[in-house]
Symmetry: C2
Subunit: 520 residues, 2 copies
């Protein structure tokens, strides 16, 4: 796809067909401008197969809003709709409907509240609330899900990798194996969730970050094919980047060729007054090779040289490498903590594709419609109880306990404020017998999670910078119970309904199940 093609495929027409067929139904039945409320939430934390996330990191909101600013029904978009035909060969969409889209098919009537990017978020909690004319709030569904699901998924994986890396630097290397142009959003989400830098120059440039990278095997191969060797390739690199010299040492044989050649070149560098940055290992037993390489670098006096590891890393592989180093390094005369503290992780495919769980199951559901000046709650009952919606006009609060840790996210009805409750009843979203009381005296802080983003289509305030988003992530993860942060078998974080919301939900379920018999 080239640039002009992306202009037609990725603006307002980045939408599922059924949003438009439904939109025309709303238009013809006069419902199109009825105020509607939709909520975005995901149902489960990513399960990677054998391990699963205990929390997610929200991401994607700024890009959703930027997409909205770029996307409205223009003549070229309407032409695409006008060309569609019914089974009987007539125009699928009427000209009056297309006219309405031309004049009203934008976001000026849409209000958006959302959890800011970088926050720790949990299943079944509304992360974005859209209010606006039914037709536009409905059409927004596809793009909203497309933006928020993917970035939240990748930011979450990055946060897990950060947990396993024990504070060491993480480099995002995923562009080549990324899902085509998702590499940009994926790179951004990785930087939000846990990566320190990316190799992707485009996204780094866009976010005002320096990209990172060194060289590939092909550089060494090229020198070899032209009759020179690995050491000549290293020397050429060192000469051009004397203060940024990081050498990939596994093109031929890591311990017999790569590391000795790198040390020789590092010695030449030092003789000229420069310090090398380090080496990169990209194959083999990374724990064993890093121990042996560290011993060789130490013996040569390069105790500060970094060791960058890459090759199908993820949180589990990093954890295994760290554990193996702790168990084996001393046998080779290497201090395990010292070695772990000089490691840098280059993480590619498994981060940007969220290996093991390639999609977040986020959904966007109609929860209320405004009729005669009041919000009428809407519900969808499912034979799977977990899929039955939490209806109505809600608020989301995060409750902190006497330790200052986040204890639960509470979904309430509008007008309810946990700070004014004598005791806070936490109802399980689906199981009637699961309830508990959170004593008012334990509540040290009660924080609304949803903030205004768009009011009547206009942005409320500036977007936070990447650094601000990362500080929010760090603050939130620090206030999580360590059990929730565990990589394996994390504690379930409590997401609860207030007593009144629970009661509303039960009564609507009853009504819905009784409903069909009354229709004529």
């Amino acid at each position: 796809m080239n640039a002009s093609e992306s202009d037609i495929a990725e603006r307002i027409l980045r939408v599922d067909q059924y949003q438009l067929t439904m939109a025309q139904v709303y238009f013809r039945t006069g419902l199109h401008e009825v105020p509607a409320r939709f909520e975005y939430f995901f149902r489960t934390c990513p399960d990677y197969g054998g391990h699963r996330a205990g929390y997610c990191i929200s991401a994607g909101l700024e890009w959703l809003v930027r997409w909205m600013a770029d996307s409205r029904f223009r003549d070229e978009d309407l032409a695409a709709l006008r060309g569609q035909r019914t089974q009987s060969g007539e125009a699928l969409f009427g000209e009056d409907f297309l006219d309405w889209l031309r004049s009203h098919g934008a976001w000026s009537g849409v209000t958006l509240r959302a959890v800011p990017e970088g926050r720790v978020v949990h299943p079944n909690v509304s992360l974005a609330v859209v209010e606006g004319p039914l037709i536009m709030a409905q059409i927004l569904e596809t793009a909203l899900l497309n933006h928020l699901n993917y970035q939240t998924l990748v930011a979450t994986k990055a946060a897990r990798i950060r947990e396993s890396a024990r504070g060491q630097m993480i480099l995002e290397f995923g562009l080549r194996r990324a899902q085509e142009r998702a590499a940009s959003a994926g790179g951004r989400a990785a930087l939000i969730g846990g990566a320190d830098f990316t190799s992707n120059i485009g996204i780094a440039r866009l976010l005002g970050q320096p990209p990172k990278g060194t060289h590939a095997h092909s550089m060494v191969q090229a020198f070899m094919a032209l009759g020179e060797g690995e050491r000549a390739a290293f020397r050429a690199y060192a000469e051009i980047y004397p203060d940024d010299c990081l050498l990939l040492v596994d093109t031929i044989n890591t311990l017999e060729s790569g590391v000795p050649n790198a040390i020789r070149v590092f010695e030449e560098l030092r003789a000229k007054g420069h310090e090398p940055v380090g080496i990169r290992l990209d194959s083999g037993d990374l724990a064993y090779l890093s121990i042996r390489a560290a011993a060789m670098l130490d013996a040569a006096g390069f105790t500060e040289a970094k060791i960058v590891l890459s090759n199908q890393l993820d949180e589990m592989v990093i954890w295994q490498i760290v554990t193996q180093i702790e168990q084996e390094a001393s046998r080779y005369g290497v201090d395990p903590d010292g070695l772990i503290g000089r490691l840098v992780y280059g993480v590619g495919t498994r981060l940007i594709t969220s290996e093991g769980c390639a999609a977040l199951d986020g959904v966007y559901k109609l929860v209320a419609l405004r009729r005669d000046g009041a919000w009428e709650p809407a519900i969808k009952v499912s034979e799977t109880p977990e899929k039955t919606l939490n209806p109505g006009e809600k608020r989301v609060w995060r409750l902190y306990d006497e330790r200052g840790k986040a204890a639960a996210d509470l979904l309430c009805l509008a007008g309810e404020d946990p700070r004014e409750m004598d005791e806070i009843v936490l109802r399980h979203p689906t199981e009637a017998t699961k309830r508990r009381t959170f004593a008012r005296s334990r509540l040290t802080e009660c924080e609304p999670l949803l903030l205004d983003v768009l009011k009547d289509g206009k942005p409320v305030g500036e977007f936070p910078t990447l650094d601000e988003i990362r500080r929010r992530r760090d603050a939130d993860t620090a206030r999580l119970d360590p059990g929730v942060r565990r990589l394996i078998n994390p504690h379930i974080y409590h997401v609860s309904l207030s007593q009144r919301l629970w009661e509303l939900k039960q009564s609507l379920i009853e009504q819905a199940l009784d409903g069909p018999t009354r229709e004529t």
Copy 2:
């Protein structure tokens, strides 16, 4: 990201940093214009965990070439490079290097041969061969991998889903859970590999295809919240789309509410002279519900109504549904084959994310450099034998046997032609003891797989249409051994080296392993 941002992030700067740091090394050492040859191939077919692909479908080539046509080093791209700093605070890239990129940083010297889109392809076979000045052929790596890996991955998943669907229609519904803007490339790849239509209006428009879609639960919910019911919602839809009426019947209760309401509305439609299209089931036991729904539709005289199934479908789930229908339908008085023949599959998340295997392991490797007028083969030796390159200037042939089936893909040296060999020796790429002879008499056809795409940067011919690509896919899959097409435990398709290529590879491995000791 908005449109102007994508312009900076997704043209030539959609590249890994190390391509540019290496490029400057080539420039400073005078190697930048040495003709180089790189090859793209993947190492293994996708393994989805418990089942794996026996072949892949190539896709992504046209979009790679379109990206190339749009991407060169412009002033704004060079400004991003000029801003980069070394550890010591100096400019990372010199002005002379940036000047070279400004004047030469495009694809005019690059020649590309590739396997066309839609073809059946196999591991370790070169699918794209790039020749050009070392510096530009190197820089192309990231974008080439990014384009070809993802579309080939998704086209392959779509082909598997097509295998399981027994010729029934497949709809691609993945936009909402796709990896953000990869939805466009993913939608295209799904249409190449096996999907008949997509719900994504943007990509359908771009490819000149009609999008498909009906309505969501929210339409029924909206009518309910406003005091009406499911049947009223269905009626409204039927009135607006009398010849395109496909109703989602599981918002309340599929068998007690949805299907009876749909039948009532279908009867009203028929009374007005219209035939309904059918119903969609999106939850619950899809096999059981489709049997029961078919019985109800049949009893009401709607024997032609389609039953669209959706909800986390993939090739395994579809296979299970079909098998269950075969075993259970007759018990409910429903003809299994008749029911299977009226099913349509809406496949979303698991197709566009290639559930279970979210990345193809495609790589792009330097295989030769031109020196003194001749190609010098380049090799990278790996401690994992499968990762050691097949070096040099090669040709790829597909051999067909006496049944007309594809028997093997043979990698030869340039100048070798299997049609001129008395007997064709097929060497395993890594294992010396695995070899066999393909009798010349069995060879019914011998086809070169790589075609010219770009010569010195200029396109050779037109791109095939989507229909042409699909016909190629069908022709190729028809000529595969059924064992290779199996969804579970497919036969290994033979990819072999010619005797001469095998010998070249062995001698280069020896040289490389001896090499390092000779350096000073």
